[in-house]
Symmetry: D2
Subunit: 459 residues, 4 copies
């Protein structure tokens, strides 16, 4: 049996932990008796070949585990986007006898790998016909096997619970907001902090939860009311009343309102300055989130994924679809790569289509729990029982037969109640249920998705 030959590359935006992943791929491959090559500068290096593709030994990846970024580089490659470029890339791999490729990157990078894989046999034909490779070589490597891992600080990839770099980015955000908080408290001032995430509010949401922020704007769940500015201002004023000296609003890059209109940090700043009658400062964290030493979590995640990627690629069968190595239920698992890519794109499409219910539905339950908990932390403010106002426990139930629009109506009623500080109770099975005590308290997210469903969710 010929020695298996694996190549590994990093592509797309760099993420903390990519080096740990490369190290694990190299060392696991060596341990399993395979040869392993690193491709420098991403797909561009794959096209350029030569010194860009280097055989690795144990020591080649020594001392890289702790370092940020990706030491084998990443670069945009226009050439790899062309068939001509991919043809050269295939030739470069075949000359080294490599037909297994581990790709660490984001959405686009992994899709690129799949295109390459699907074209492989036709590229082989071309290269054989032109005499650039021999028929024997073609016969030895009839298939390109692909395993992917997601390196992305945004955690914007569906299917896997967490992507390499997310935890480290969250760390840096938390440290930055901690620092800003002390300044904000010194001046009794409000700060807006903008974090990464075009289609994914993960960093904004978990950053807000970790720093006790007062308001958050994420693409998947825009404020559910038209006058969100008023609600936001009211919460901030309530905080001040309760003794809070600083206010922090965290927003994702892709923040938008319920009509899909982009919300910029300057928009929020203007609203806050006018509403609070004070200076408001904005900090765009930018690339500070991306770099620096990976956290322990990211190093371990990337190492475990890198290990599994090699096991998977060595076990892969020619007929197998490309695999994504990710995590689910806190375990390292293998997933169908292209399905995950599809699902990832669905989130972006749902956001573009302003179908936020769907976008949230596509997020993990952990994400939804976090969002719900954050809302409670913010809402916990003793604002609602304004002078003279009472806080009610309001039960909602449907009477009569299910009818179109019932859910939508229920959903609106429940959210309105929650927003005004009441405790909302759902009663199942109408009057009968009420009699039997089929009552449970409803949360903001309990009613997510109701808008698009028929029948009566309350029952």
């Amino acid at each position: 049996m010929a020695t298996k030959r694996i190549a590994v590359l990093t592509s797309g935006g760099d993420a903390q932990g990519m080096n740990a992943a490369v190290r694990a791929v190299v060392r696991t491959a060596l341990d399993k008796g395979a040869d392993v090559y690193a491709i420098y500068e991403g797909y561009q290096g794959l096209v350029e070949g030569g010194a860009r593709i280097r055989k690795m030994d144990w020591d080649s990846v020594g001392g890289i585990l702790q370092q940020g970024g990706t030491l084998i580089g990443t670069a945009r490659s226009e050439e790899f986007r062309t068939r001509e470029g991919r043809r050269t890339a295939a030739l470069n791999l075949l000359q080294l006898g490599v037909d297994r490729l581990v790709v660490i990157g984001g959405d686009g990078s992994l899709t690129g790998a799949d295109v390459f894989r699907r074209e492989w046999s036709s590229l082989l034909s071309e290269l054989t016909q032109s005499g650039e490779i021999s028929a024997e070589t073609a016969a030895e490597h009839p298939h390109l096997l692909i395993v992917g891992m997601v390196g992305s600080i945004d955690n914007d990839f569906s299917g896997t619970e967490i992507t390499i770099g997310t935890d480290s980015a969250l760390h840096r955000i938390t440290a930055a907001v901690d620092a800003i908080t002390s300044t904000a408290a010194s001046h009794q001032r409000t700060f807006i902090v903008k974090v990464m995430g075009r289609n994914c509010g993960y960093l904004a949401l978990y950053g807000a939860l970790a720093t006790g922020a007062d308001w958050v704007l994420i693409p998947e769940a825009p404020p559910d009311v038209d006058n969100w500015q008023d609600v936001m201002l009211e919460r901030l004023r309530a905080g001040t009343k309760a003794g809070r000296r600083d206010h922090i609003v965290i927003m994702a890059e892709g923040a938008q309102d319920r009509y899909g209109s982009y919300i910029g940090s300057s928009d929020v700043q203007r609203v806050l300055e006018e509403g609070l009658g004070e200076e408001v400062r904005t900090t765009v964290l930018g690339h500070v989130q991306r770099g620096g030493r990976p956290s322990a979590y990211d190093r371990n995640l990337a190492t475990l994924l890198g290990y599994e990627a090699v096991i998977a690629i060595l076990e892969a069968k020619p007929e197998d679809d490309p695999i994504l190595v990710g995590t689910k239920a806190n375990r390292i698992i293998r997933l169908p790569l292209m399905e995950c890519v599809q699902k990832t794109r669905q989130v972006a499409e749902a956001i573009n289509a302003k179908d936020y219910e769907k976008a949230m539905a596509l997020r993990s339950s952990g994400f939804k729990d976090a969002f719900s908990t954050l809302k409670t932390m913010i809402r916990a403010l003793p604002h609602p029982p304004e002078p003279g106002q009472r806080r009610f426990r309001i039960a909602v139930f449907n009477a009569g037969a299910p009818a179109p629009g019932m859910n939508t109506a229920g959903r609106v009623a429940i959210r309105l109640g929650l927003d005004q500080g009441h405790i909302m109770l759902g009663v199942s099975n109408g009057f009968e249920g009420l009699a039997e005590g089929q009552i449970k308290e409803l949360e903001w997210t309990s009613v997510s998705g109701w808008a698009s469903l028929g029948g009566s969710m309350l029952g």
Copy 2:
């Protein structure tokens, strides 16, 4: 319906994130319309009462999310270990109308809460008879409801995947070992780093994985050979040969050999100094692991758990057993508290009984995967094919009927082979399986547990 009254306390060793948990309990309780009290100085404060039990409002927990330790304090309480002490504690709670208690602490602290809960009705009787409380008061609070959360940097609690403080401790270990690594490399020296964990090697194992350590000693999985010192030395020498300038050995406090003998850092130091013929340094990380700002992960974990703890305690029924709020499959869930305590103790007992197979079996599959991956990372060293040595692919299979001892023999053979750098293959169904290709590669952990099982695991 009377307003529900909840008290929260922290107990045992402090852990980063405890403040976040307290904050979440307070704010969630307020949001749900409950009254909430903080008990200062743990169970000791519960016994002392008075100013030690304070009603909290929204602002009481402002600005604590980011802070290390526990701001409501923790203390040993001899008094609470006596029935007399618990009687006073019950009285203190009853005087405030509190009959729901959220406890954030370790194994012992949570067990103490359960004892208190079970005694509650007899304490009530005593207090009523003595006239310290009225019959009405007793009638209003017939049961004490308990919800626990684990605050422990060691991650030494079964049932929940991760405990509050673990991620932060791992951070501090990682930063410390990163720092030590640069010194070790400067001097081409070996360092021993001792981390916390008497019965749990989590910090040592994940710390080793995150820092690329060369050897790890954990209580659950002592080296499987008698001459582990030689094996360790061989790995370190192989590293040197491959170009590595530093060597790091990480050991848990509870490190031991396969016969249950304690391994101290000075033992390891002596072995290394004699074996390598050079000075070796030891660093005991101690309390540096415990304090400091909680990581983003711990803040979020503690916030989500604190939220769920309040939901759980408000929904709890008198007849319910005490609940532990923890994580499983990356979700926040409710677990039977005392079952988890039992399971936690089983690990300690298994280690004491030198039944390491069982101890490892009680750990999560993630733990086992991490251990296996770490071994590969260490083993990946190009040591085995020593001059003249070849690396074989060795297949192991059973022929004939299953017989006692077959598994043990197979296990020994497989580990021996792996340890010598060979690739071990398992063949199912004897010769028949071999003919049909029922072969798969075996890992170190593939054979865990075989020793205690009957039949033939290979099949």
Copy 3:
């Protein structure tokens, strides 16, 4: 002898270490037998009085040493800018018997204190006449004694070598640029990092030195050539040629060209993108620089200054001018406050007047050394001996009698030579000096100031 009463306030932008200063003032005052008050929210609190001015005891400042920002707050006060406001402020102090004020703030805040001090006796008269204070009270506090300390992360204050907060800000800049560097290297990309400093390039300069940046733009020393863009590009290209993967340009907020035109980060970005033909990213560090835990250095500096401030204010005589407590030659010293303020303004004026020679002359010699060293680090690139080019040792000397313009000509010649990579030698005393070997190598800064001087600096 009546107990002396001291008040302390923080004003202006917050800086890490302000809390350490307040703590030292309070504890030293208590130790010296004085009463001490903290004024909350800066001058605004001084005007508002009441709960804004609180008597401090030992415990009041416990646990604040490590914290960022200023826990006694700082705020803009329009009222204190009016005589009416200051009248109320004086009344507030007199009612408590306080006539000694320690102010921790920047340029403007300290000037405000001096205005208040000079008006004190006329304010006394007014308050006595209106009957708001008694003649006895007026007689007991005929003078307001002022001691200032500079809290400012920019190190933009003349007279003292370093201001409270500078070291911590430099830390945060360094950590941020370290993080960005790993990303920049991953992508072989150029980053622009904008740091604080309107009239002072300290953070930019020392940040560039600490992170190995490739180019720096500071207000005091704009590029000395018109085509600085070309020179910058050439250096960056030389770095790439020498193997460098990342490029970092650090610029102060107040960056400008030699004609005083503001240079924005977008200007630099455009130049770099056009010149290098690649994407360039900009990060504005903003308030991340300002907050967070003070460094050990800032805590110690602030503690030592706070101690000395109390000693100084207790020893102060009515006729004394206000004192600034600062550092010189690494010692804690007392300086004439208003002279330092004047000097600080002269730098700003010199920059506004485009008299950069003067601006640099007003900076400390350490600043100039750092600038010179940074230039060498950047210049050290093996760029100059371009193919076919030789690196000369060029001697410059004046022959004949000194004449106007000689220095300017010499300066231009020398810098041009240095810029092209030659080694420039200065010969003293013309041909005679040459014969006698009165030759020394000239640095970039050796010729600073020549432009505005008569005679021949070379001699």
Copy 4:
């Protein structure tokens, strides 16, 4: 003129910033037209030669500025301690035409360089006679020129104000004690933290100042009383009474009592446990202090020193004594190396001889100020006016002619008074001075050194 050739090595314990120093030496040398070599593994590499001595170019030191430890290594060399070893070292240098050596290390390493320098010409003779080098080579390199820089985290070198690595070590100590403080406060517990420094209390003193520690033990200034244990306990109890929850005692490795007896951390622990009746924990920070990324300060210090070292070694004349490049009054200066070594040893000798007055006298005034300020911060505790006790202002003056022992008596009186919380005043010129008001308050350190001086220091 032949190109000058410089070699640079690091020796002794590694210190953060050594890489920055090496980088600055290399790049400055290149910029000045010199050739530059790095010697790997310290003096051992100098003896081994070959691949241990490598020519450096600009890129050789790229990316090392930010890294901890020393990338060119450091090692103990028994061989270099022998003349035979130094003979080989000389040969290695001569074969490359190197006769200028920059050494970055501690006390012993710099002394070693001086021995080598003094032997140089006799080594030359030997090598010429044996024919290992030609007469021409010998003639071209008649002298070895040495410039040293101190790399030492302890700041234990006299002559220079601060050594490379000290600021970074202080950072790590501060971060560790901050972390421990939160744990200590959680448990209301006392912690002992042991930091580096055998003959120098710098890290302990400035670490204590930066973290608000309650007590410090440094070698240069042992407690001035026999019952220091009681005094320490009293201060800690006073802190508890004033509301403090945690207690931190920081001790240097070289801590001793006034009789020169070693004080171990276990001694202090026993005293505290018995005296306070509670558990006390000890943390030995160890190598955690030494490693990790250098602080901005250390990077800049090392860069400026490295630059100056090259300028100095290029300007050095054969007859010059070896130079130390260090800082004084916050400026980079050149110092006579061996004088500084002598002075450094005097401190150690004074400590060994229990002449603590002298040891302190040899420390910088900044050190003494810091010590005095720390004592005030600790003493500030409202302990002295114990129930019924009054705090006096006590004046001390001499009457009659100066007599032997007057100073000693005065010193004892003054310290006793201060220790009991009184304010001590010194009167100059006896009764006459008293009449004229020649009175000033005396500090603890005001009387340092009096014991060994004749006459009357008070006057």
